[in-house]
């Protein structure tokens, strides 16, 4: 099947940018001030992916545990930074620490389990497997935690009176914020659950599509996709539960009073 891979020429790739041109024309005609962002985003995407491509070639040709660890660390750092950037309400230092620790602990433990128990590749740091899997787990966890942070901070703000009324009756901060914490967890994992429901019917997941296009047997691609989806679900759940179980405490002081 590998013989069927179509290597894209630079012109074929350039032709794909017609879609961006089409988008630019639409926003121009409709007078939507988005042209600059569209141009910057497509340019960033191109440069980032080209850079990553060359970095991956180097890493795949020179596998080393230190390089793999460094790349994963950079991915987590970037994901954490991205969460800070995407959450509109201001995050204090303690909340940022909880986000960082939850992301690191949740994604790394899931990643280790997935690589060692499920995929079982060797050596453990093999970048061809480790890095793409880490990317999917960290990326999805980042989306989950972002949704979790937003729901939690907005919930604690909008439902302040509810939380306070529960405290008045002798509820612990944990009990008083239980509903908001559950809503945050639910909102955070919903896209992952929807992803599983729609997979194979509504859309073909990116990784599987990529593998099939690259000539891999569809059954093998599907097996990998199933494993990845389950791994991602586990990682998102673990990361988000670690986050929400600790983050609600930030809204209370040591006297179990609501801050601010």
């Amino acid at each position: 099947m590998n013989n069927n891979i179509i290597d894209l020429t630079i012109w074929q790739l350039a032709a794909a940018y017609v879609f961006i041109l089409m988008l630019l024309v639409i926003v121009k005609i409709r007078n939507i001030p988005r042209s600059k962002e569209i141009l910057i985003s497509s340019l960033r995407m191109t440069i980032q992916l080209l850079l990553v491509g060359y970095i991956l070639i180097y890493l795949f040709d020179n596998p080393h545990p230190l390089w793999t660890a460094l790349v994963v660390l950079l991915m987590i750092t970037f994901a954490v930074w991205n969460i800070f950037r995407r959450v509109r309400s201001g995050l204090d230092k303690k909340m940022k620490q909880i986000i960082a620790v939850s992301m690191a602990a949740g994604t790394l433990s899931s990643l280790i389990y997935f690589n060692v128990i499920v995929i079982q590749f060797s050596p453990w740091y093999e970048p061809r497997y480790f890095i793409p899997i880490a990317g999917m787990i960290i990326g999805n966890s980042m989306t989950g935690v972002t949704l979790g942070v937003q729901t939690l901070t907005e919930g604690m703000k909008d439902q302040r009176h509810r939380v306070e009324s529960a405290l008045m009756l002798g509820a612990t901060p944990k009990e008083a914020s239980r509903k908001i914490v559950n809503q945050s967890f639910d909102n955070a994992i919903l896209p992952t659950i929807n992803n599983m429901v729609g997979t194979g019917i509504v859309f073909l997941p990116g990784m599987m599509t990529g593998q099939i296009l690259a000539g891999v047997n569809p059954v093998t691609a599907i097996e990998y996709q199933i494993a990845i989806l389950l791994g991602v679900t586990g990682a998102v759940s673990l990361t988000v539960i670690l986050f929400v179980q600790n983050a609600y405490k930030v809204f209370f002081n040591e006297k179990s009073q609501l801050r601010g």
């Binding site: 009756l169 002798g170 009073q257």
Partner: protein, 213 residues
């Protein structure tokens, strides 16, 4: 039960010396924004005084474990909150929060009848009017059964006749069980009818008190 010594909270409240005795019914009365609700929150330790000392059973409130104190001196806010979908879930929620055994259906039915709430336990709490929600909140507090009840305008959404009826039921129950009650009210007639002591709260200070005849 509670004592205030030179207690100051922001620019809202300044109480030089105040004692609330065990088993007493105390009304706090005054205009809006004079700090009546804040006074209850200080006792419930939902907020802390900036200066001075507030004691509960002789111990400064800051030395109490806050949740433990609130289980002893529970507070009801002026705007009741629904904790659950049904009347039953709402009645159970107080005990659930305080980590106590849940009340029986018989106790719950009795508690809503006590406040003239014509509802079934399985009824949707979301359809209750403001006044009905206040009565549901009082029933929840009654089932929770704390030694001290801090009530912030517990009957403000009721018409005068029903307001007296509900307050009478609550105070009667409280006296029978030797509870200490501090309640905020906008109604002088409610204060006169049910309080042993009425305290006039004026802006930035607690001005004085009147012992009811």
């Amino acid at each position: 039960m509670f004592t205030f010594e030179e207690a100051v909270y922001k620019d809202i409240l300044h109480i030089d010396d105040l004692r609330i005795h065990k088993g007493s019914m105390t009304a706090l009365i005054g205009e809006s924004g004079t700090g009546k609700s804040t006074m209850l929150k200080l006792m419930n330790h939902l907020v802390s005084a900036d200066k001075g000392v507030i004691r509960f059973q002789g111990t400064p409130v800051q030395d109490w474990e806050a949740v433990e104190l609130r289980r002893e001196a529970a507070m009801l806010s002026q705007h009741p909150v629904l904790f659950g979908d049904t009347v039953k879930e709402n009645l159970e929620s107080g005990c659930r929060f305080a980590g106590r055994p849940l009340p029986s259906e018989e106790q719950m039915t009795h508690s809503i009848q006590q406040y003239d709430l014509q509802k079934e336990l399985d009824d949707d709490a979301g359809t209750l009017s403001g006044g009905e929600q206040q009565r549901l909140a009082l029933a929840r507090l009654t089932l929770l059964d704390p030694p001290v009840c801090l009530l912030d305008e517990p009957t403000s959404a009721l018409d005068e006749g029903l307001e007296h009826e509900v307050m009478e039921a609550f105070i009667k129950h409280a006296r029978k069980k030797q509870k200490t009650v501090v309640f905020v009210t906008h109604s002088r007639s409610i204060a006169d009818a049910y309080a042993d002591e009425t305290m006039d709260i004026t802006p930035f200070s607690y001005k004085g008190r009147k012992i009811n005849e």
